[in-house]
Point group: C2
């Protein structure tokens, strides 16, 4: 296998969320237990942005149309994004995260948070570099590091073993830094578990990063969808050396604006500068007209976010309750975001077969845990930003199939 | 300098089109000759998509809005783009280029043609690979190859020395392949000169690629804006081994849809497959709602494209005439697209200083030739997709400044 063939062989997307349509829809029916279960199909691989579930931020399409009508100034922005939009975002993001952001030098608008993550990793990681990655964590973190030729040093997140904190093994993180890892990448809240890192954990990450001069890329995509009573700690608001931190956010999830492909990265001017240079040859800029939609971000109606959080919380609680009826499905209650990552009991079929059977027999799409951690062969991820009723019925079907296929 | 610092040091964007706003706007006035010239500012670094110049394809915004209203199915497409849109594009692109395209396996929708070019190069070029690049050609070709760690083998385009063909030095191309170059990247029509490759040249490129098993990435972004009497030859319609060819197009230029960030790459299933895997971690997908706008592409009203070409031709002819009045500015008449690449006489200031003076004294933005070829220190690129009257007046100011700064 040539060098480039090897590189792409690691980049499998067959089990990635949203790609299920490309899998064969046939299955060997002799291996199936019982009949198909009727019900409204639910695709838990991503949130539902339709009217029956969670629609985009009010006014977002209007801002897009205003952007189109304003013509060239919105179509052809600087590569890092339109200056006045960056100004307004910098103010909002500084207030939200508790530390200043320079619109001129410390912020870039990207095509989705995926775009921000790619640019941040490519601006930081070279071939041969060691990079600390949490397990489980967002699957692209691993793939990005591997594509850059980096070597992954896994850090365990014992999310089921704790309630007052995330359960990250900070001694492993220190060992990774000692062994030469120069970069740490993690999502907070954690994707797929919905766990948030405690103030103490975040402070310790900052202390370790400072001690070893490590760069930290923190994906805070879901940090606005925080359930009541939970405290969220922003890494960039600690005493960490902010010239070594890039924070990533975007309006694709909580705000249901994924179809516009928008994200932002902010922090280290040195890294943001590299990211812009790279963006110039990767996609030129985030879609110009879409950038106008960012004018709605952090400027939603007063009760809109509260209402959105309350609705997600109600779905979360009902799904946890339904999963509990199975007796042996274990789920940590997510503290932020809209992911559930239940651990299933031992099944008579492989995880990937079970996921296929869910699709085939229960009209339910979920993402196998192995996308997030090679050892998560017993877990599935659900994005519960869905129609409430349909989601509850779909999880009832999941529990029924767990029952059928239990070993 | 560390490995990654070196990599990014090569990725300068200060002189890239659209980034002029980041340059200092002050200049040492003691070095300026004469007063500022009044007139409507013209930014020739990109096309003007405002009402007074070339607006987007009729109906494009309506398709976008329909896409938004259709919700999740348009927001969350497969990474390679929505299947029914790929079907329709495959039909149009096969007819346009004269060779079949499989919508399922041979086409990917990307964030702009820049996105397509990045993915194609990243799917093809590994560190240490030799890559043949035309000089002059689109500046990102060089930067992309360098970013992947490839080595550039320059191929001369003697565009001023010929009229019946482009002037590519095919013996250099064969020598490059003999010396181990596995990839050839070029734009047709050539950006910045507007030259198209003759049928014979295209056939010879195909023959050489077949003989040496080389992969060819051909950027045909401007191939629809073809002036009357010119014959355009599609590389993929020759006897070239199509498993080694990727063709790139998009509606950002002729169709003025750049603000939606849309491009397509089609050809080699093997490479398209890699490109999708990479897109999954670079930006996930082309903006979902924007993809809906592709429904207007190759489906414009019957006379719309003819009218657009005629208008560009009229501007082209007037600008060539104005440049001719200078006596010693040499320009080859572009055969397709909306770029002019005039060669200026010897000036008393550097090219970059002259470009700054144009901005400062004449309210005209052009792109220095050095972006396209290190030796093009005497040329400037103009995108003449502008308001006709304003463009003519702006080029009159350029000629006046050439006169002032002539050595």
């Amino acid at each position: 296998m040539s060098q480039i063939e090897e590189k792409f062989a690691k980049l499998g997307t067959e089990n990635a969320p949203g790609q299920e349509v490309r899998q064969s829809s046939t299955t060997d029916s002799s291996e199936l237990r019982g009949d198909s279960l009727p019900g409204v199909p639910v695709d838990f691989s991503h949130g539902d942005v339709n009217r029956s579930a969670f629609e985009a931020t009010p006014g977002s399409l209007d801002e897009f149309i205003r952007g189109v009508k304003s013509g060239g100034e919105q179509a052809y922005t600087e590569y890092r994004g339109r200056a006045d939009i960056r100004e307004s975002l910098a103010t909002h993001l500084a207030a939200f995260t508790g530390a200043p952001v320079s619109a001129a030098t410390e912020l870039i608008i990207t095509p989705g948070t995926q775009g921000a993550l790619f640019l941040a990793v490519a601006a930081t990681v070279s071939a041969g570099d060691k990079v600390a990655i949490v397990r489980p964590d967002y699957f692209a973190n691993r793939k990005l590091v591997e594509f850059m030729g980096g070597h992954i040093v896994p850090i365990t997140l014992d999310y089921l073993g704790h309630e007052s904190h995330s359960g990250i093994d900070l001694s492993q993180l220190e060992a990774a830094f000692k062994a030469g890892a120069k970069t740490f990448i993690f999502s907070n809240p954690n994707n797929p578990t919905g766990v948030i890192y405690s103030q103490d954990e975040i402070q310790q990450i900052a202390t370790l990063a400072n001690r070893y001069g490590a760069t930290v890329i923190v994906d805070q995509l879901y940090s606005r969808l925080l359930y009541p009573g939970r405290v969220y700690s922003h890494l960039r608001a600690t005493d960490i050396d902010n010239s070594n931190v890039v924070t990533i956010m975007g309006p694709s999830k909580t705000e249901s604006l994924s179809g516009y492909r928008l994200g932002v990265a902010f922090g280290s001017a040195r890294l943001i500068d590299r990211m812009e240079k790279l963006q110039a040859i990767v996609s030129l800029r985030a879609p110009g007209y879409s950038q106008a939609v960012l004018r709605t971000w952090f400027d939603e109606h007063a009760n809109w976010m509260q209402d959105r959080i309350a609705k997600h919380q109600a779905i979360r609680d009902d799904l946890i309750q339904v999963l509990g009826t199975s007796g042996d499905v274990i789920t940590r209650v997510p503290e932020a975001g809209s992911y559930l990552f239940p651990r299933l009991p031992k099944l008579a079929v492989t995880l990937h077969q079970f996921v296929r059977n869910l699709r085939y027999q229960a009209s339910v799409i979920v993402t196998p845990g192995t996308e997030f951690c090679p050892d998560s062969t017993d877990s599935i991820r659900l994005n519960f930003s869905q129609n409430h009723e349909a989601a509850v019925a779909a999880v009832e079907r999941i529990v029924e199939l767990v029952h059928r296929y239990r070993d």
